[in-house]
């Protein structure tokens, strides 16, 4: 309320090169959760145990307690990008994500200060910790009945892959911690999107866009792209239909769960284009495009293309250069593409033409490539350092999908999984309805390297790496340096004991000796960077003097 994190005024691109794959983005992963030895266990309680376990891990790591509570004051899940707000009374209860699922720990902290909250993360009513902000700038919390990791804001697809994969290591650390506790049943986490029994849970992407782009243009430009994007980044699924009633294999985990073209909901009547308008930033300048149609990716190459190509298509839309294509009945087309693993089917366009999913992707590639060349960001030497690689991977992958599918299987996740399943089918003569193939599909996504089948392939160098293991391990504790996540993460690591809460656009200090809580807004995603605040952290070891300089106050005032 008194100051913002220092930095120069930002335009909507925030100084990032425009026209290519760079923009502010982030990922959200809801993990499937399962305790084989306790089949009836409450999923929300198990998810809270995962958060609790990670809190114990971070407490060991940092004496100050590298955990901070979430501040809900800027959550606006009922704001619709089309320009209205859903009334609370007509919202599905699952849409009310601006309320803590149980006791309002944040409200208590704001009202009374942190002494009301016990240091072990459990308050006096016995409520488990449901929400953490991590030293890498991420959020780890219970979302509905799943543990969710929301990555810190990054500026490019390579960093998106890095901090998304770091989330899998966070989840792994919690699983290990729980496995070592003789009092609790071991809990498995799966980076997938369905239980194959009619339930799906999400993996979301977020992209910052200037609010000046009309939402209708976003819908028009993105829908054909999203109908076909799965051929490069689908995670593959055994079973057809929401409840897997029909045997078979399909490209996407999520496609069968989408029922409408545009909408606000994320848990029911899922739309191809989600309209949740919750910018977590200066609202008249930005929108946060909330993408719910993607599969959670373990394959780094698929994940890289998921973020990189989508960011480039958004650049096309912003420039008014998106291909003028309309897919006839997009929801049915989305599912038809997912069910066509031969990639030979043709989609009907609004003008009556028919085109393959692969050719539709090539049209987007050509347009994105041309725009990136024209703006100069695609140059291998003088470009933005990211777009060139996205274009190279994108065209190589589309070429492989059109010809050398065996080569594509080392990067395209649904093909990698399919080649493993085909190995079993051939060796053991299994039909698609055989439970063993269902188990391969499920265990593909087990996040433990010794059990997860993706990780077994990775260990044999059968999966392409985009980032090295050391960079992912660093990203578990280190925030990205070039967004406000740097400020948030560093505050949590350095001053965790003096924080009452944090959110995407604020950090709340509760410094001993100061009468009230100090809320530091961070509404500009490209401020609070290492370049802008690194010196501040270097100069201060104590929260009191840090805050005094930040807010321009005299110490103790």
């Amino acid at each position: 309320m008194t100051a913002v994190v220092p930095g120069k005024p930002a335009d909507t691109a925030g100084g990032l090169p425009v026209g290519g794959a760079m923009r502010v983005m982030g990922s959200e992963t809801e993990y499937g959760i399962h305790a084989p030895s306790a089949p009836g266990a409450n999923a929300t309680m198990m998810s809270a145990r995962v958060i609790q376990a990670y809190a114990q891990v971070t407490r060991q790591r940092a004496a100050g307690g590298a955990e901070t509570r979430w501040d809900y004051t800027d959550e606006e899940p009922l704001h619709d990008a089309r320009g209205w707000t859903l009334e609370r009374s007509s919202a599905d209860p699952e849409q009310l994500t601006d309320q803590p699922p149980v006791l309002d720990a944040e409200a208590i902290a704001l009202a009374y200060g942190r002494q009301e909250l016990e240091a072990d993360g459990e308050d006096e009513s016995g409520t488990l910790l449901m929400n953490m902000v991590l030293g890498n700038g991420a959020r780890l919390y219970v979302d509905h009945a799943h543990p969710e990791y929301s990555s810190p804001e990054v500026t490019n697809p390579r960093a998106a892959v890095t901090w998304d994969a770091a989330g899998d290591l966070v989840a792994l650390a919690a699983v290990r911690r729980l496995a070592a506790d003789p009092e609790l049943p071991p809990i498995n986490l799966y980076k997938n999107n369905t239980d194959n029994k009619s339930v799906s849970y999400g993996s979301h992407e977020n992209y910052l866009m200037p609010r000046s782009v009309p939402f209708g243009e976003i819908v028009r430009g993105l829908t054909p792209f999203f109908v076909t994007r799965q051929i490069i980044c689908g995670a593959g699924r055994v079973g057809l239909g929401q409840d897997s009633a029909r045997a078979g294999y399909q490209i996407s985990q999520r496609a069968d769960f989408f029922e409408t073209e545009v909408g606000l909901e994320t848990t029911i009547r899922r739309p191809i284009i989600n309209t949740r308008d919750e910018p977590h930033a200066t609202a008249d300048k930005y929108r946060r495009l909330h993408v719910i149609i993607g599969d959670a990716n373990l394959s780094q190459a698929s994940n890289f293309l998921k973020f990189g190509t989508t960011a480039m298509v958004l650049s096309l839309i912003e420039a008014g250069l998106a291909p003028r294509i309309e897919v006839h009945e997009p929801v049915a087309a989305l599912q038809a593409v997912s069910h066509d693993t031969s990639l030979t089917g043709l989609l009907r366009l609004g003008d009556g033409r028919r085109i393959s999913a692969l050719d539709l992707q090539w049209i987007y590639f050509e347009a994105a490539s041309k725009h990136a060349q024209d703006t100069g960001v695609a140059d291998a030497v003088d470009g933005d350092g990211h777009t060139h690689e996205v274009l190279e991977r994108w065209s190589a992958t589309l070429s492989e999908l059109g010809g050398d599918r065996a080569a594509a299987a080392s990067s395209v996740e649904w093909l990698a999984k399919l080649s493993l399943l085909e190995g079993y089918r051939q060796r053991d003569g299994l039909g698609w309805d055989n439970a063993r193939l269902g188990l391969v599909d499920l265990q593909w996504a087990d996040i433990r390297p010794e059990k997860g089948l993706y990780y077994r392939l990775l260990a044999r160098d059968r999966m392409r790496r985009i980032v090295d293991d050391a960079a992912i391990a660093r990203a578990v504790t280190e925030p990205p340096s070039d967004t406000r996540a740097y400020f948030r993460g560093r505050c949590v690591s350095r001053f965790g004991a003096d924080l009452a809460g944090a959110s995407w656009d604020s950090v709340i200090f509760d410094v001993p000796g100061r009468g009230r809580l100090q809320r530091v807004p961070t509404r500009e995603p490209l401020r609070g960077t290492e370049a802008l605040t690194g010196g501040l952290f270097a100069r201060h070891r104590e929260a009191g003097t840090f805050l005094a300089e930040l807010l321009g106050l005299s110490p103790g005032s």
């Binding site: 499937g32 979302d143 009945a145 369905t194 194959n196 339930v199 849970y201 848990t267």
Partner: protein, 67 residues
């Protein structure tokens, strides 16, 4: 790259290896059988890590709704 793996490493400090011809690239059917062998090895490894009782394990994996 099965063909590359079969090539003899070039030795810099002796001349003796000069007369040893590099192994010829594996013929296509040998490469295919090497690939098959790789898949068989992989499946054998995965047999060892798959949860036992596939049917029961898959049936018990029941999730509550998410986003």
């Amino acid at each position: 790259m099965a063909g590359q793996e079969q090539q003899q490493p070039q030795s810099r400090d002796t001349e003796v290896d000069e007369d040893v011809p590099a192994a010829p690239p594996a013929p296509a059917d040998a490469q295919a059988s090497a690939a098959t062998q790789g898949v068989d090895d992989l499946l054998d490894e995965i047999d060892g890590v798959l949860e036992s009782n596939a049917e029961e394990f898959v049936r018990a994996f029941v999730q509550k709704g998410g986003q």
